[in-house]
Amino acid sequence: MLEYAGSQRSGVRAERDAPRLLAVVRSLDWILVAAVAALVVVGLWAVAGITKFQLPNDPNYYLNRQILYACVGGAVLIGAALVDPDLYRRYWRGIFVGTAVVIAFVLLIGHAARGSTRWISLGFFTFQPSEFGKLLFVLALAGLLVERQGGAVSSWRTTLRVVGFGLVPVVLVFAQPDLGTALVYLAALGAMLFVAGIPWRHLSVLGAVVVLVVVGVLWVGPAAGVNVLKSYQQQRLTCFTHPATCRAAEGYNLHQSITAVGSGQIRGRGPNNSSQVKFGFLPESQTDFAFAGFAEQRGFIGAALLLGLYLLVLWRGLRVVTVARDLFSAVVAGGIVVALLFQIFVNVGMTMGIAPITGIPLPFVSVGGSSLIANLTAMGVLLAIHARGRVSRYSRRR
């Protein structure tokens, strides 16, 4: 029979065929679960050391909050793992509009306050929509991609439409201004197009456009007097290519970060001796430069352990792409994995001077509830995709 994705009938069939809860639990990717759990634990360990000296009166303030967020995130992860990802495909429009509206709302508040605002304060918790936006954006665009694509993967029309939709949240986040998160969105967008199978021809054209835009914005534009980026953003992005001649603040940050990483040596200096973190030489040590603080305190052993866990999660994530039940799930998994990879690489690379300085938090480690909960939710979605894929395979076999 002929059946189109997203049709009412397919939805009904999906519900009918929905695997039972037990089957889902049984087919969870327990290696991924263990890797994520270990990451969260290592992240809390890192936070415990890094934030020890932030508040003189309460060394455990940030740790306690982070533990709370981890618990909330764990609960959300379990919930997300149990939800059938097909739900997101069916309601991608709502997700897309909702996400865009919330991010735009933040942007408006920010403008009203005459400054950069990425957060909505909920009293005890400041909610950062753009962090959750990473996941929601992936879900919504995957829905669009699958619906538009059908099976004809080669039309420019489809590619451009997806890119056009995708640029809406990118621009909104960029205007906050939050360049780092905007770049994460772009990376995820590229990954989804890639996984969805658009032709290499399209990919290379898009890639060429990206390269042109980057070169134009960073080098040609300023030379011609056109500044798309604020000067500090541009400084931060290009600083790592010439750290010695870089303007004071960014060059200083990078210098202190590299010193922190290097001074950790093999075994680390431990929290009490980590002068870079303790005496505040390392800027933003609990958020953007968390990796440098962790590397100083726990050394190569600790940093390599953390990178190993990331590698494990990414490997299991890529595996999820291959076991996905349908194209939508595969695209979602691809987007999530590449967004994660991009954040890890740019953040860790930034602290060591091999990637531009952007305000991207380090997943599972940087202090911040929105980031941790959003990342755990994304892991939950990955687990759900894996489980459904496995279950549908079992049912196929049956």
């Binding site: 059908g150 990483v261 303790k278 590397a295 060591m352």
Partner: protein
């Protein structure tokens, strides 16, 4: 989703399967992950394992900062070792600019709180911060307040965590045990505007001998956090070297006496109805070598307003800025070296020397001293009066000096006017030879050169641009020569120049270089080589015989019963030689503009072997004998340890 197997068979249970194409792409993503992580791990390895020790050393060096430890400035002593200026240790409040919040609003709030705490204006703090940013130096602390009061210190020590950028530090401020005595002479120190955090002498002795007084700052190592806040005690690596001790030729007791004498002279003048008398200067010199023994200027001020925190209010209370300077008659001006006045009759000895040297008069020939004089060459036939209109007798030169006969010197002046052009302007030449019209070359720093009017000077001063009658006004008239002969007209001198001139009379014709520096010592007592003051230099072409005639006139001035200073010095136990002066000067005092008499007295003692030259001027003080001479007498009395009774009214020129 169209589910169609490659063989065309449609199925419902195989909705989606990993295509080889997707597998390839996932593999590519995997490769991307591997490459990325390989790069990260390699870089991590390079930083932590290969160069780890380098960065570990750098992290340690990061914490240790070398800070400058200010050196206390050297003390200033008088010739007998009494302290004129010394240091007082104080606790200052310092602020690390980098310790302030980055966010504008909280930053402003923090600066406000700090300013409020230190009781300084917000503008003061923000100005210092802006200065520091201009110099691009955000790590060295700024001094918010030099002396923190005891409550401020206690408060700050208790609430240290609330003000993370603030620290208390030890520093030194200048202390003046003698208060306002010699304030203008000693000067004050302050922040060097070119080098932040450095204190240098700005005026007076403090500036002139800054190289000796400013010590060598030391260095200390201190562990700091990223905001520059100290995390450890300072560990001195190089001790600061306290500045060298500068000993002045000033005698503190004589200086005090001179300051009091000025007040006494001003009071005397006021008692005699000279209501505008409100200032003056006294210079006391050693005529043998030019060492300045006392250099007083009135009104004076309390220099301690410049130590520590300088506020406009404190300065205004001492008359040091703006309008207050006018209402309080410019206390900041050192009248002894910067005040210029017509010298009046105290200048007559110079006229006498010049006239003798030019053979215009004979020392013991009698010339008429009349009540009036009219220059035959003067087309306007102006009548010039003697101060005593009823005199009519012949006088020799000593008597003319002693009785200060104006008409005697008018006649001499007229002879100068009548000299042929080929003889030049000898009176001005001799004036310059005795140091008038130029700086004294003393180590006191900048001084007024005064004015010795010449024919050329008049030509230069009156031009088409500044005077409609310039063709007439620029001409040198007989009156100009007459005025110059009695120290009036355009002639302007400083008290220091007059003292130098009288020193030359006293020491037999040697021009001394006035100086205040006696010696400089290290902290451990070893002398520091300094440039010695130039030796007294004989005035070229001066005939000692003529000089002794003038000396005789000055002695008669105090000892002869007709002498103008007889009333003051006639019975003084030590023989004093000296000359009064009453100079008309157009003055602008609050509420009055017009001619006022400047009261002068210059002289030396003992008359035969002078040990001290004193020159006193009381602004608007009336006649020389009634204000300046009694003031000078007080200085002599102190110097010779003589008690003198208060002086009554003396009528003189």
């Amino acid at each position: 989703m169209r589910e169609e197997e490659p063989n065309g068979r449609q199925t419902t249970v195989e909705p989606y399967r990993v295509t080889p194409k997707l597998a390839r792409r996932v593999a590519l993503l995997g490769a991307l992950v591997v490459i990325g992580f390989a790069a990260l791990l390699l870089r991590l390895w390079a930083l932590q394992v290969l160069s780890g020790s380098h960065y570990a050393a750098q992290a340690v060096a990061n914490q240790v900062r070398t800070v400058r430890v200010a050196a206390p400035r050297g003390p200033i002593l008088d010739s007998t070792g009494r302290i004129l200026v010394t240091n007082q240790p104080v606790t200052s409040i310092e602020l690390s600019p980098s310790g302030l919040p980055k966010d504008y609003a909280t930053r402003v709030a923090e600066i406000r709180a700090i300013a409020h705490l230190a009781r300084v204006s917000v503008r003061h703090v923000s100005k210092l911060l802006v200065d520091r940013r201009i110099h691009n130096d955000l790590l060295d602390p700024i001094v918010v307040r030099t002396e923190a009061t005891r409550p401020m210190q206690t408060y700050l020590e208790e609430r240290a965590t609330d003000f993370p950028g603030l620290t208390l530090a030890r520093s030194y401020i200048r202390r003046y045990p003698n208060g306002s005595v010699a304030a203008q002479l000693l000067g004050y120190d302050g922040q060097n505007t070119h080098s932040a955090g450095e204190v240098i002498g700005l005026t007076g002795i403090e500036a002139a001998f800054n190289t000796f007084l400013s010590g060598v700052p030391g260095e200390a190592r201190v562990s700091v956090d990223s905001l520059g806040r100290p995390r450890s005690q300072r560990l001195l690596t190089t001790s600061p070297e306290i500045g060298q001790t500068v000993r002045l030729t000033i005698n503190a007791r004589l200086q005090v006496a001179a300051q009091n004498a000025l007040g006494y002279g001003i009071q005397l003048a006021r008692n005699q109805g000279q209501w505008a008398a409100d200032g003056g200067a006294i210079v006391a010199l050693n005529p043998k070598n030019g060492a300045i023994l006392a250099l007083a200027s009135s009104p004076t001020y309390d220099p301690s307003v410049y130590s520590g925190r300088v506020t406009n209010r404190k300065l205004a209370a001492q008359g040091l800025i703006g309008n207050s300077a006018f209402t309080m008659n410019h206390p900041a001006v050192d009248r002894a070296v910067d005040g210029t006045y017509p010298p009046g009759s105290t200048f007559k000895p110079l006229t006498a020397i010049a006239a003798l040297e030019e053979h215009l008069i004979k020392p013991y020939a009698f010339y008429p001293c009349t009540g009036t004089y009219v220059s035959p060459q003067d087309n306007s036939h102006r009548v010039w009066h003697n101060w005593d209109r009823f005199v009519n007798q012949g006088m020799d030169l000593p008597t003319a000096i002693a009785q200060s006969c104006d008409t005697y010197f008018y006649r001499a002046g007229n002879k100068f006017y009548n000299l042929p052009a080929g003889r030049g302007q000898p009176m001005q030449k001799w004036a310059r030879a005795f140091g008038f019209g130029k700086e004294s070359g003393s180590d006191l720093g900048p001084q007024s050169p005064g004015t010795v009017p010449t024919i050329g000077w008049k030509q230069r001063m009156w031009t088409k641009a500044n005077d409609p009658n310039w063709r007439v006004d620029r001409i040198w008239n007989p009156g100009d020569s007459l005025n110059l002969a009695i120290g009036q007209g355009f002639l302007l001198v400083t008290p220091l120049q007059m003292a130098r001139f009288y020193a030359a009379i006293a020491n037999g014709g040697k021009l001394v270089t006035p100086h205040v520096l006696m010696d400089v010592e290290n902290q451990n007592g070893t002398p520091v080589p300094t440039a010695a003051a130039p030796a007294p230099r004989p005035v070229a072409g001066l005939n000692p015989a003529y000089l002794s005639v003038v000396q005789q006139g000055l002695i008669e001035g105090t000892r002869d019963s007709f002498g103008t200073s007889y009333g003051v010095f006639g019975n003084f136990p030590i023989e004093i030689a000296g000359k009064t002066g009453t100079a008309q000067k157009t003055v602008h005092v609050p509420g009055y503009t017009g001619e006022k008499d400047q009261s002068w007295w210059c002289g030396y003692g003992p008359a035969t072997d002078a040990k001290i030259v004193v020159c006193a001027v009381i602004e608007n003080g009336g006649e020389g004998g009634s204000a300046a001479a009694p003031a000078a007498e007080r200085v002599f009395a102190k110097f010779f340890h003589v008690r003198v009774p208060p002086t009554g009214l003396i009528h003189s020129d």
